[in-house]
């Protein structure tokens, strides 16, 4: 068996999600190759070559792959995939955008959000917003799947695989990149952060959301998340949203500040190692999943917490 892992990268660097996906591949077992498709992506390819357990890195490098548009990356993957038993991508917006398109052209099913590998053809994935866990078996010759990165540890580095340049195909001419607006932050990315400080509607305004949570996040080196209620109220940008319809996270420490704990929020963070909830409503459902709960007004508790951490 041989497994192709689609790397998550931004040309200049490799994203941590790739490491988790390699671990998932290792659970299946077999030769692991990593595809880096991009433009001027040698640095990302080099980083991929250093993942322990990776046998080979394939680099498809061309202008039309620069923004990794699904229309242009798909032919590259389809071409390669026929030589593999499994193709894995992280269940990021990039992986989710790409892999079903590949699957359709290969006329195989795709398995989304795999959280455990039972065997080479049997996988575990959540459905109904994580309220049900399904075990599914694929009979397709090539198994395509996206992997929920929070369910697998990051693979170690220290390897030294060869980087092989491969054909990058040509521009499909159907789509073009216009612009990108990334949320600027010196903080870690939500999906990769070890600690997340997340705020809810109780923050009551955009100003307070930032002025209360940012000092705490800075102190802890944490990423900032938000409940859907806080996002809908305009206190936090869309990509802060943690939950069923936002990001699924599983950091070492998740600090829920002024979040009541709607089911769909819990679905996005309940796999965190340690959950702390600060809420003045002692009946708030968040306390049912929190390892440590503090019933307090967040506007006094958070500054106190920062002071305590400074001690």
């Amino acid at each position: 068996m041989s497994i192709l892992v689609i790397a998550e990268h931004d040309n200049g660097s490799l994203k941590a999600a790739t490491l988790n996906t390699v671990t998932a591949a290792q659970k299946i077992g077999g030769d692991i190759h990593v595809l880096v498709a991009g433009h001027n992506a040698a640095a990302a390819a080099q980083a991929a070559a250093q993942i322990a357990g990776v046998a080979k890195v394939l680099l498809a490098d061309a202008t039309h792959l620069g923004h990794q548009l699904a229309e242009n990356v798909t032919p590259v993957v389809v071409e390669l995939a026929r030589g593999y038993s499994h193709v894995l991508a992280p269940a990021t917006t990039h992986g989710k955008n790409l892999l079903p398109r590949v699957a359709a052209l290969l006329d195989v099913a795709q398995i989304s959000d795999v959280i455990a590998v039972e065997s080479a053809d049997t996988f575990v994935r959540p459905i109904y917003a994580g309220n049900v866990i399904a075990t599914v078996q694929s009979s397709d010759a090539i198994k395509l799947m996206t992997v929920r990165t929070t369910a697998f540890d990051a693979a170690a580095t220290g390897g030294s695989a060869a980087v092989e340049n491969i054909s990058a195909g040509s521009d499909a001419g159907k789509s073009s990149f216009v612009s990108q607006e990334l949320t600027k932050s010196s903080r870690p990315e939500l999906g990769a952060a070890k600690i997340i400080v997340s705020g809810g509607r109780a923050l009551a305004s955009s100003e307070q959301f930032h002025s209360v949570l940012e000092p705490l996040a800075d102190k802890l080196g944490a990423a900032i998340g938000a409940s859907r209620a806080a996002v809908d109220a305009g206190y936090a940008p869309n990509d802060y949203q943690v939950g069923q319809t936002g990001k699924i996270v599983a950091p070492q420490l998740y600090l829920a500040v002024g979040i009541s704990g709607a089911i769909q929020h819990l679905a996005g963070m309940k796999d965190s190692k340690v959950i702390v909830a600060i809420n003045k409503d002692e009946e708030a459902p968040i306390f049912q999943v929190a390892d440590y709960g503090l019933v307090a007004d967040l506007f006094t508790a958070v500054p106190e917490l920062i002071a305590e951490l400074n001690k």
């Binding site: 699904a70 798909t74 359709a104 959540p126 459905i127």
Partner: protein, 249 residues
């Protein structure tokens, strides 16, 4: 310009589903069913494009059991012009759905196909991308903004870390994210009017599509419940616990 919208009938988002006692499947007997919320957003977007004079006709399609007709009627009441029901009792997986929609698209020749980014039952998030592949058309997935510009459509996508805007040649496929729009409440006269709008029926066999499932569900189970921890009395106690007991800071 014609728009094709696909809508799925799913367990209502308020319902907490349970597994059958033998673990063979989810028990969906007698639970409230509704249109997939992402698909509601898809219908709404199409209707807004029509109201803005940018689309001339909205065809809405649903695939599955007889009761999908109700879901189609809802879409018609929201403003779609006519409906197609591909009726089958077979479990439809994303690849089969994409093939069926491809067959409909071949007949209807829409310039834009709008779908929800995922259904809230199987959470697959695949159908739009697969349909785009089969139609050899570009895809704007997880859209939070859709702007038609001549023979192109600009789609702003919600991606990890922010937003990305792509320009797609028509015909194109768009899948909707949560914040694309807020679906309307249906006007009462439109419920009555929807009853009189055309609803055509077809089947996978008539469309020449093999809709058999590729993945076999071996079992389903409810996830382990996370237990509540303890309440701490003070911030100091919290910090002490995190340092000494949980060892996470």
């Amino acid at each position: 310009m014609k728009i094709l919208v696909a809508v799925k009938r799913v367990v209502d988002y308020n319902v907490k589903v349970r597994c059958k006692t033998d673990g063979s499947d989810v028990d969906v007997a007698n639970v409230k069913m509704s249109m997939n919320p992402f698909d509601e957003i898809a219908v709404e977007e199409a209707v807004r494009l029509k109201e803005a004079g940018k689309a001339s006709e909205i065809v809405v399609a649903s695939l599955g059991v007889k009761q999908c007709e109700e879901t189609l009627r809802t879409a018609l009441a929201m403003g779609a012009d006519r409906a197609i029901h591909v009726e089958t009792d077979t479990e439809l997986q994303p690849l089969a759905v994409a093939k069926l929609l491809k067959a409909l698209a071949d007949k209807e020749q829409p310039q834009l196909v709008i779908l929800g980014k995922q259904a809230i039952d199987d959470d697959a998030n695949q159908t739009g991308q697969m349909l785009a592949a089969l139609m050899n058309a570009p895809q704007g997935t997880f859209a939070s903004k859709v702007e038609l510009a001549g023979d192109k459509v600009n789609v702003t996508r919600e991606i990890d870390g922010g937003l990305e805007t792509v320009s797609l040649s028509l015909p194109a496929i768009v899948t909707t994210d949560l914040r694309l729009n807020e679906p309307r409440y249906v006007k009462l006269p439109n419920i009555m009017a929807a009853k009189k709008k055309p609803l055509d029926k077809t089947t996978p066999a008539e469309l020449g599509v093999d809709a058999a499932p590729r993945l076999k569900t071996l079992k389903v189970a409810e996830p382990p419940v996370r237990k509540a921890g303890i309440k701490v009395a003070s911030v100091a106690e919290l910090v002490a616990k995190l340092k000494n007991e949980a060892k996470v800071i």
